[in-house]
Symmetry: C2
Subunit: 356 residues, 2 copies
């Protein structure tokens, strides 16, 4: 970084996604940036983080930090983005935002570079949105299939990791695991709530609405109309917008599982045209950001433990539905902190400067 290239700002540099973002920037063979600024809340200001061999001091969020910035990536809560992304844009930066604040705004493109890279150019508010991590975990695979076969319907069930709820989700899962492990809990798995209470882990202190260790929790996000969760509606509405299929039929059920990082989804996808497993395998093999892991007889299918830390979307268990025409069932795993958040945001930022 020599001062001649564009200036990148990372807002939320000290959070769970922000720290993965720093890893991604450090791991790139080269970057286009002349300068990188790390920004966080006043509480984290002054921290020193090494970026591409240079020790940078985290600056407190303030309007002036955006002066001279070309691209500002935001990994902060919705309400912080809602306030600050427009300030960054007003100061001349393109804001790439990973919150839910702007995703469904018709004047804000929602971008997955493999699917709709061109959309970055049409940004009347100076803001580009990064999709929700659950939606993102399947988009590279679904976008590739949609181009070939025409997607019509989606039924999705998720297996979402604790880190989707940020650092507090990760900390809580570890604390719960420590409270239940090493105990003789019998064939039933004991009373998990009792074990957590005995360890001082009150449910009210958890970012999750039920115990996560030795459990699955069929809820993520906030309460929306008619029993739907915000997370489930995001999967539906964001998939429609990214893929450009306004009438895509979607039913999603979002479930949290005791995995630290990497979201998985079971996908039932109906297409306009017939699709075989061999055709789907060929489509995935031709998509650089998708890795096919699909040979159950050899124990080969994607699992979070095997794909975490990787950039691609991993796809396996591809089957032609036995009773539904033009339909595939498959399973995807994607690191929700990388492609699901930091990586896709960074890829959008790169796309913005490449398109200048």
């Amino acid at each position: 970084m020599g001062g001649t290239g564009p200036v990148l700002a990372l807002v939320g540099a000290t959070g769970a996604v922000g720290s993965v973002m720093v890893d991604i920037i450090n791991g790139r063979p080269e970057v286009p940036w002349g300068e990188i600024r790390l920004i966080a809340s006043a509480r984290s200001a002054g921290k020193r983080i090494t970026v591409r061999g240079q020790e940078l001091t985290v600056q407190a969020l303030a309007p002036e930090v955006f002066d001279g910035v070309d691209v500002a990536m935001f990994d902060v809560p919705d309400e912080v983005s809602a306030q600050w992304a427009p300030i960054a844009a007003a100061r001349g930066a393109v804001a790439v935002d990973n919150s839910g604040a702007f995703r469904m705004d018709p004047d804000v493109p929602l971008v997955v570079p493999e699917v709709n890279a061109d959309a970055v150019a049409d940004r009347p508010r100076g803001i580009i949105a990064n999709p929700n991590c659950t939606t993102l975990s399947m988009m590279a695979a679904l976008g590739a299939l949609h181009r070939e076969f025409g997607l019509r319907e989606l039924v999705v069930a998720s297996y979402q990791a604790a880190s989707g709820a940020g650092q507090s989700g990760i900390d809580r899962l570890y604390a719960e695991l420590a409270a239940v492990a090493g105990k003789d809990l019998g064939v039933r798995g004991g009373d998990v709530r009792e074990a957590l209470a005995a360890a001082g882990l009150g449910q009210a202190d958890s970012p999750f609405p039920a115990p996560l260790a030795l459990n699955v929790v069929p809820w993520a996000g906030s309460v929306k109309d008619d029993g739907w969760s915000s997370e489930e509606l995001k999967v539906r509405n964001e998939s429609r917008k990214i893929l450009g299929i306004p009438d895509l039929k979607v039913s999603a059920t979002c479930v949290r599982v005791p995995v630290v990082t990497t979201h998985s989804l079971s996908v039932h996808a109906v297409f306009d045209r017939e699709v075989t497993v061999a055709q789907a395998h060929a489509v995935f093999a031709a998509q650089p950001s998708v890795v096919l892991v699909d040979d159950p007889a050899q124990g080969r299918f994607p699992t979070p433990a095997d794909v975490v830390g990787g950039d691609p979307t991993y796809v396996g268990r591809v089957r032609q539905a036995l009773d539904f025409p033009n339909t595939l069932d498959f399973f995807v795993c994607g690191d929700n902190l990388r492609k699901g958040a930091a990586l896709n945001t960074y890829e959008i930022a790169e796309q913005v400067v490449a398109a200048r």
Copy 2:
């Protein structure tokens, strides 16, 4: 038990399901049996187990143990049932079998008492089959909906507990949890395979094809044609047989999760007739073996940790699909060792003697 009632035999009395079966028999307010015999492999013979206040000695499996037996419940591997259930039947017992050996035999009824109790009477081979635990976990709920609205299509994703793989599955999950808990595994969750190997937990020694702690595994059962697992085909074929809908359209994806006991399923069900959430709630409320837990705003939905050890099927997250007509999305949890195995088997045995 006074010697005047019918004789019940429990084959596989010392296994994970067998021990739950003993709990169920001990927990009944009254039982119709004049005598109960506990049977297991020669290795477990001689063990003493208390049943309804009486200490019984486990007998080794042999043809003679079935003499005088009215109902013999089998909770043993497929190949043991395949050999021994016909022997029990030849000696005059009605064999109620919880293995996969006979479920799809057209001369063997496959029974869930709430759905098709009358089927117990038509048993030309003297054998009645108990369904697979994953299928069973949703049958009471689906059977009730089918009677009212006419089931046509099912898309199912499972969250299956370790105990579905028996005691070795339970032991493995506990051992894996102990190996990963209390470590600083970071935002990625560390390298689970490495942690297990360091603890001496080789993958080849596991009943699961991948790590289960801090992971989900999209595989259960054996490899069948075209990428399907035996477990997924059981969900399809057994649902059709139990519900009496030979052309029911089914796609299932079966996934193991790090829960000790209680299977969960995300269900997308399409009906012949329109169905609202209020109508579905009314149907569930009228079904004694279904408990409705459905108020997300109050944090009320079923989770394995809250329902394990219970007899009913717990249903929540009931939503009318936004984009599919006549369609409900919902989430069910059922204790796979109780209703999913021991309880339903025992209910069939009771049905057999009640129908005499």
